[in-house]
């Protein structure tokens, strides 16, 4: 199949994602330096908060959304073996999202939107920031639509056939994102923009937080699903084995999509505007959503074990040694799982509210999500990029050993950055501070950890540069003399599925389940604001 058009589409999205990433990495290192107070000349809250706001938006919204769109288009076209439906529409989605990114970047970089990536009202940013964020999301909705259409068309053309797992996962993510983004979209359209334009005088800060919490949890799974997709559809094959269970994989994606949505209140555990019963309900759901992650961990490890044994590994742990550690996909998966296990323990603490009270909004929290998000998730983005790049540019990867060094240094750097960050949280350091000015003895214990973080960040920055260099070199190298023939390979499962019950092959049922669950878990908590005697807040600068 000639997929030149799709390759160009995917490459454009991925480059936007990775340029955002590398810019934000430099900001990250500046932030740990500034915070530590090591270089007094750097001290400036104005610059610092402009930087953290930009860093958060670039990493959390731009890197992820563009990566997911680009990867999704390429997955859809290669797994279904059809061209992308409506190429023009796909490009318009790209340009709308890019326009939104630029529109938000201008106020961010000029210090007119230093509201952090969570932009909690009633602090206000320049209205261009909200318009930019809206356009970024609208562009991504176009992607969601295209994924759903391609899924449906394929099913019509292939009745009773199981949808390829890669496409099943991608469509699950598209639907998840449509549901997820609704909360923040309502907040921006009905609260933030009208307030910024002066159409309304006040907003209810409690309602704003509730709507944002609707989005804040499942968005994490939107970011994570590409990593899980790679675990299931690439890793087993690259390791030289088979996927352990195709059905378990589908089940995991369904449970992820369904249960990540109705549980956002764990971000509001410490908030006064929601009652304890709702918090408990969401707290229970939070534990339930750990099941698909446990299943994923099991399936991936089992698939790796099969591969290791097929390659001649013996004994209880011998198979680990015989895995192809020099394959960037396999190495990433192992490192990613290690970070997931460490991060998982932290997650259980966050989810249990008695323990959460000790670390809520302390440095523990950014420590935790850098480990899980910048670690577990992003290292799989690297792996996917290394795997796809040669096919996208039709040239061999510039250097595999450079890729391996890059992955190892990302893992080590992440350990050095996030371990002290967690400790700082336990020592009581709040998150989101630009320097330490509290005049208490407590802060003396913080210093050495802040210095360690600078070092960890430096390793990460170097690693990120290697990543970009390798990709750019691959693309810019002269074309090889012989034709490039490598094709994308999706893992086969031990028991290939020939037939599937409809609920494992479609989302109609699950959309309804989600609708009911959302009604139960968010219906009254949102409606209460219209029945209580509430007092709005006027907008504030910062």
């Amino acid at each position: 199949m000639n997929d030149a058009a799709e390759r160009k589409l995917a490459l454009s999205h991925l480059w936007v994602a990775f340029i955002a990433f590398i810019v934000a990495c430099f900001m990250g290192e500046y932030q740990v330096l500034e915070r530590s107070g090591l270089i007094p000349a750097l001290d400036s809250p104005t610059v610092y908060f402009a930087s953290v706001s930009t860093h958060g938006v670039l990493m959390g919204f731009v890197l992820t959304t563009f990566f997911i769109m680009g990867f999704g288009y390429y997955t859809a076209t290669t797994s279904l073996k059809v061209p992308v439906w409506n190429n023009t529409l796909a490009w318009s989605g790209f340009w709308i999202s890019l326009l939104g990114t630029v529109m938000a970047a201008i106020p961010l970089l000029t210090g007119n939107a230093s509201v952090l990536y969570t932009f909690y009202l009633p602090i206000q940013a320049h209205v261009a920031f909200y318009f930019g964020a809206t356009l970024l999301i609208v562009g991504s909705w176009i992607w969601c639509g295209i994924m759903v259409v391609m899924f449906k068309q394929w099913k019509q053309a292939n009745p009773k056939q199981p949808v390829p797992l890669a496409m099943f996962a991608t469509t699950a993510n598209a639907l998840l994102w449509l549901w997820t983004s609704a909360g923040v979209a309502v907040e921006v359209l009905f609260q933030a923009i009208p307030l910024a334009l002066g159409w309304i005088d006040t907003v209810d800060a409690g309602l704003a937080r509730t709507l944002f919490a609707w989005t804040l949890h499942p968005i994490v799974y939107f970011w994570l699903i590409p990593a899980y997709t790679a675990f299931y559809v690439f890793v087993p094959k690259q390791a030289g084995g088979f996927l352990f269970s195709d059905e378990a994989a589908r089940g995991a994606f369904i449970v992820l999509a369904v249960f990540s949505l109705p549980i956002g209140f764990h971000h509001l555990y410490m908030d006064p505007e929601q009652a304890k019963g709702w918090k408990l309900l969401h707290g229970i759901g939070t534990f339930v959503v750990s099941i698909p992650t446990l299943v994923t961990g099991f399936t991936v490890i089992a698939s790796l074990e099969i591969a290791g044994r097929l390659r001649g590994g013996k004994g209880l742990f011998g198979w680990i040694g015989s895995l192809p550690w020099s394959n960037s996909m396999v190495l990433s998966a192992i490192l990613s799982l290690l970070m997931l296990i460490l991060g998982g323990f932290g997650g259980i603490i966050n989810a249990s509210y008695a323990m959460n009270a000790m670390i809520h909004n302390t440095a523990w929290v950014p420590g935790h999500f850098h480990l899980i998000f910048a670690g577990t998730t992003v290292i799989m983005y690297f792996a996917i990029a290394y795997y796809l790049w040669p096919m996208l540019v039709q040239k061999p990867l510039f250097s595999n050993s450079m890729a391996l060094i890059q992955l190892w240094t990302w893992f080590i750097g992440m350990g050095i950055l996030t371990t002290p960050w967690h400790v700082l949280g336990l020592l009581g350091q709040p998150r989101r501070i630009s320097s330490v000015v509290y005049n208490t003895l407590l802060t003396l214990a913080w210093k050495p950890y802040e210095l360690a973080m600078i070092f960890g960040g430096l390793i990460l920055l170097g690693s990120a540069c290697l990543f970009i260099y390798n990709l750019a070199k691959t693309q810019l190298n002269p074309a090889p003399t012989e034709a490039f023939t490598q094709q994308i390979e999706y893992a086969e499962s031990i028991h290939p599925v020939k037939e599937l019950p409809e609920y494992l092959n479609d989302f109609k049922l699950w959309n309804r389940v989600i609708a009911v669950l959302m009604l139960i878990s968010f219906g009254v908590p949102i409606l209460q604001f219209f029945f209580m005697n509430t007092f709005g807040s006027p907008g504030w600068g910062y």
Binding site: P45, T46, S114, Y120, L121, P122, I123, G206, R209, F244, S245, A248, Y269, M270, D271, P272, E273, Q274, A275, K276, L280, G283, I284, F287, V288, S290, I291, L294, V295, T299, A302, S352, Y353, A354, A357, M358, H360, N361, T362, L427, G428, P430, R431, R432, S434, S435, V437, Y438, T440, L442, H495, P501, L504, M532, T534, F535, S537, P538, W540, Y542
Partner: protein, 208 residues
């Protein structure tokens, strides 16, 4: 007649629901899962059930709940409210002899800037914001809550260890966020009772 039709309809829909669930279960059993995988899923379910049981029992029987009193207040008119007028802030004994601490968060401090409370005593804090979103945490303790403008954040806790603690804002509230802090002295219970003058403690906090 009408009623019979409705009853019939209900029967039908219940019937189709039952059919649907039966189908679902049959299909569920027919999918291929390795026995090891089944075991693992059961373990995962068990662990999750255990954790859910712990937080549920804690919530219902031990009263372990996050601060969740859904109580509204007009943040723009705090000075006019009786409860949070400046003269009424700080440590007080309520009618039942319980200690209630009323605090206002505003950029960039907590008011009053210094308070003193006894150790090992139940204390109810009532926090309100006069401007934007704040968070408050007394490090190494579980005195932590978000302070959302428009709402009263109430939290009851006790401090086991006497000492001088900082009170830190832990949610971004503007460029001066890291300057937003105040102090609390936790005094040994005996000493607190000895001096027993909450008025004195109050005076001290006003002098700050």
């Amino acid at each position: 007649m009408q009623i019979e039709a409705i009853i019939q309809k209900c029967h039908d829909s219940i019937g189709s629901c039952v059919d649907f669930i039966r189908d679902f279960c049959i299909q569920l059993r027919s999918i291929h899962l390795d026995h090891l995988e089944k075991k693992w899923i059961s373990i995962a379910l068990l662990v999750v059930a255990l954790l859910v049981a712990i937080i549920t029992i804690d919530a219902f029987f031990h009263g372990v709940n996050p601060p969740s009193k859904v109580e509204t207040i007009d943040s723009a008119k705090l000075h006019l409210s009786k409860e949070f007028a400046e003269s009424n802030l700080g440590v007080q004994l309520d009618a039942n002899g319980d200690i209630v601490v009323r605090m206002v968060a505003g950029r960039y401090s907590f008011f009053p800037k210094h308070i003193a409370v006894p150790a090992e005593t139940k204390i109810t804090f009532r926090w309100v914001s006069m401007d934007v979103l704040h968070g408050v945490h007394i490090p190494m303790t579980n005195m932590s809550t978000m302070i959302v403008p428009g709402y009263v954040a109430e939290i009851t806790t006790s401090f086991p260890k006497p000492g001088e603690y900082p009170v830190l804002c832990n949610e971004y509230c503007g460029l001066g966020h890291n300057h937003m802090w105040s102090n609390i002295s936790v005094i040994a219970k005996e000493d607190w009772i000895a001096s027993s003058s909450i008025a004195a403690a109050k005076k001290e906090s006003n002098n700050e």
